[in-house]
């Protein structure tokens, strides 16, 4: 006996607890199975690129905070690198180390949010998420000591950083690293070998490496498919050429690998932070750049970093004025979203939520 069924179209989002912001997916289901996916973005569009044309170069730093609001330090860094390339300014070594250190702390915080929300999407009642947020709060506290803000930091400036770290920052950082070791072990024990997590995520939403490359996916999503591609290694910026770290990769490119990879990257970030603490030396923290920047007319620069979600880049064109003629942002979340349809079709509703979580998108960055 065959039962007559018909496909059902459901809008997942823009108001849905698991779309990580105002993201909408128009999904056609056959029962629980996904037949067709259409991602719809643009609900959080704030016109950052156009706004940047109306601000001067220092003011744009505050706009970058609001792109990927869980890793604003790294956004600052990418923008400042682009402006420094535009000016040809040289950053003092202490500022380079401070940038590297804060960017890695931000990467830890961002990955903690990422893995916490994958587990939340898997259906845990917030316990692993709260474990992750416990450590993330400590990092935000450190940022508050540095610059007074926790989320929208605006700590970096073209030519260095805004201010040197206060003296009580270093002992607090040491204490954090010591506590984080045990706290993170707890999270790993809770989730890494959990049978339900394995069963739910392994072999689901496989991303083959060739597809990943063709869709120009970057960051942990690409590395989980097996390519050791990391701008910190390929094209070292700031102090990344002075520190040692590995680029972890996974093989399968499934949800578990993307989840596992972020945990491994946190370990590497801790390594980098520890080396920065050892290597950093006293000195100036900001190059001697004028207050209002006026790059050469016609100058262009492309500054890219390995952000927590992938390759984040700012392309700036100057017309000699105090604000850029054009500011193009290459945001990793938007480009990582291009593979959603390949990842989701054929899997179930429950898998879809986890896959979205494993891509670790951030709507502030997708819509800009």
């Amino acid at each position: 006996m065959t039962i007559r069924t018909e496909p059902m179209t459901v809008n997942i989002g823009p108001q849905h607890p698991s779309t990580h912001g105002v993201f909408r997916l128009r999904v056609t289901f056959d029962g629980e199975e996904i037949l067709q996916v259409e991602p719809i973005v643009g609900y959080l569009h704030r016109g950052t690129e156009k706004l940047a044309e109306e601000r001067n170069y220092t003011q744009i730093v505050t706009l970058t905070d609001r792109l990927d609001y869980v890793s604003s330090m790294i956004n600052n860094q990418a923008y400042c690198l682009a402006v420094e390339k535009l000016l040809g300014a040289e950053v003092p070594p202490r500022a380079k180390y401070l940038r590297t250190l804060t960017a890695e702390l931000q990467r830890i915080a961002s990955h903690l949010v990422g893995i916490g929300f994958i587990l939340q999407d898997l259906g845990t009642l917030g316990t692993p998420l709260m474990y992750c947020f416990r450590s993330r709060e400590r990092i935000l506290d450190l940022f508050e000591m540095l610059c007074g803000a926790r989320i929208t930091v605006s700590y970096m400036r073209p030519g260095g950083v805004f201010f040197d770290a206060p003296t009580d920052f270093w002992p607090a950082l040491d204490q954090f690293l010591k506590d984080f070791d045990t706290e993170f072990k707890e999270i790993e024990q809770l989730v890494l070998e959990n049978e339900i997590v394995m069963v739910r995520t392994r072999g689901v939403s496989l991303l083959p490496l060739d597809l990943a490359i063709n869709c120009s996916v970057s960051g942990p999503v690409l590395r989980a498919s097996g390519l050791a591609w990391d701008w910190r290694k390929m094209e070292p910026y700031d102090a990344y050429d002075k520190v040692e770290f590995d680029v972890p990769t996974a093989i399968n490119g499934d949800n578990y690998d993307r989840f596992w990879l972020r945990i491994q990257e946190i370990h590497q970030s801790v390594r980098i932070v520890e080396q920065c603490i050892r290597q950093i030396e006293p000195g100036p923290v900001r190059a001697d750049v004028p207050l209002v920047l006026r790059p050469e007319p016609g100058a262009e620069a492309y500054g890219r970093v390995e952000a927590s979600k992938g390759e984040l880049a700012f392309y700036l064109v100057s017309d000699g004025g105090i604000s850029p003629y054009r500011c193009k942002i290459r945001s990793p979340s938007l480009i990582n979203l291009t593979v959603t349809e390949h990842l989701l079709v054929g899997y179930k509703l429950a898998d879809m939520i986890v896959t979205l979580g494993s891509l670790d998108i951030n709507m502030g960055e997708v819509d800009r």
């Binding site: 259906g123 316990t127 474990y131 496989l206």
Partner: protein, 407 residues
């Protein structure tokens, strides 16, 4: 008018009922006191469930707060104990919305159909010696029958809401409830066989040692099945907050939502009460003739805490994995338990057909070994089957382009 319940009456053993009936019966005609006593009993019952649900909701939120490194509700009353009342007042005064396209009668009936079985289930559970509100001789069967009504309520909610998320939740919920009913029923047969009776009072009396020790496999299956029927993680398919937002009760608001929540929390309380009665020797304990109710409450609280603990820890299974777990793991395991218990009872019972305490210890020894063995065996067997096919090997790209090598 001296109304007396004779020993042949089914309600004779219900001390509370008899006392009220005979007290009122001194003044009023017997048929009226029969009704009044019934209402008094119902009043106790409904309030016991609702109060239990309120206390459980407070306990769950506080405990999960502790699990998660935060405080939980702590503003109203000592330790936030009045929080459920504050929540209730809020829910009563909220607007009660009914979607325009909803089937209005069915939609409105759902909270009642949800809550009724939870209250009814408690009627046969003995809180202390001779205090079951109705000592039915088919108590176990009654409990199983009444719990099944919940699946109808979930489907009514999903269908009448006219919402696709609710429909998803309802379809999932019914699939889960129907699947998990089977192993739960079979796991309870072992208990019934040892006790030699379906009456819950007799089951408690038969537990010279708690059936937790004699029937570990049945306890495991029953707790897992109950968690699935109560829609609690790792089996909370029908609600699945991260997927279906709220599942079958997505369209409910105000006091209707409150009643559904009360049914959910009350369901855990009554399920804990049933588990305590069947496996943790109910009200028995030191000085149980006097403080049996205290033992009962303590044990039920402990079981409820286990449910909270599991909820705070585990991720959710997917629907196909969940059904596979029911049919491929819990069902065979419960059948093994049934056969083993049947053989043990057949060989160990004496001429009168009853089992001595020493026999129960022998059974405990055998059954624990069996439980470990069968959980291990079926656990390993299901492990690979649950995992989706093709794990580990990448499928060819739809774009048909591949790269030669990666650095």
């Amino acid at each position: 008018m001296n109304c007396v319940l004779g020993p042949d009456n089914i309600l004779h053993d219900t001390v509370l009922y008899r006392v009220v009936y005979e007290f009122v019966g001194q003044l009023l005609p017997c048929w009226l006191s029969y009704l009044i006593a019934g209402f008094v009993i119902m009043f106790f019952l409904i309030n016991a469930v609702l109060l239990g649900a309120a206390i459980f909701s407070w306990m769950e939120r506080r405990l999960i707060g502790k699990f998660q490194n935060r405080l939980g509700p702590n503003r109203w009353g000592p330790f936030g104990l009045l929080q459920p009342i504050a929540d209730l007042i809020k829910l009563i005064f909220k607007e009660d919305l009914t979607p325009r396209a909803a089937d209005k009668i069915v939609f409105a009936a759902v909270p009642i159909v949800m809550l009724a079985p939870v209250i009814l289930m408690l009627a046969v559970v003995p809180f202390a010696k001779d205090t079951a509100l109705a000592n039915l001789n088919v108590g176990v069967l009654y409990v199983l029958a009444v719990t099944s009504v919940t699946s109808i309520a979930i489907f009514m909610a999903g269908w009448s809401s006219n919402n696709r998320f609710a429909m998803f939740g309802a379809a999932r919920g019914v699939a889960v409830l129907i699947s998990y009913e089977v192993p739960v029923v079979i796991s309870l047969l072992g208990v019934v066989m040892i006790a030699g009776s379906m009456s819950l009072a007799d089951v408690v009396n038969a537990q010279t040692i708690p059936f937790l020790l004699v029937q570990p496999l049945a306890l495991f299956v029953f707790v897992a099945g109950t968690a699935a029927e109560l829609n609690r993680t790792p089996f909370d398919m029908a609600e699945a907050e991260s997927e279906l937002i709220a599942g079958y009760h997505i369209e409910y608001s105000g006091i209707k939502f409150g009643l559904i929540q009360a049914a959910e929390f009350g369901g855990v309380v009554t399920a804990s009460a049933v588990i305590v009665t069947l496996f943790f020797s109910g009200w028995s304990g030191p000085a149980s003739n006097y403080i049996g109710w205290l033992w009962f409450l303590l044990k039920a609280g402990a079981v409820a805490c286990v449910f909270i603990w599991v909820r705070a820890t585990f991720p959710r299974l997917r629907i196909d994995q969940l059904l596979a777990l029911a049919w491929k793991f819990l069902l065979p395991v419960s059948i093994i338990n049934l056969f083993a218990t049947a053989l043990e009872v057949y060989f160990l019972r004496d001429d009168a057909g009853s089992l001595a305490t020493s026999d129960l210890w022998i059974m405990a020894g055998i059954n624990f070994g069996l439980a470990a063995l069968s959980i291990l065996a079926f656990g390993t067997m299901i492990r690979e089957k649950v995992r989706p096919v093709g794990s580990g090997d990448a499928s060819p790209s739809p774009l048909g382009v591949s790269i030669a090598e990666s650095s």
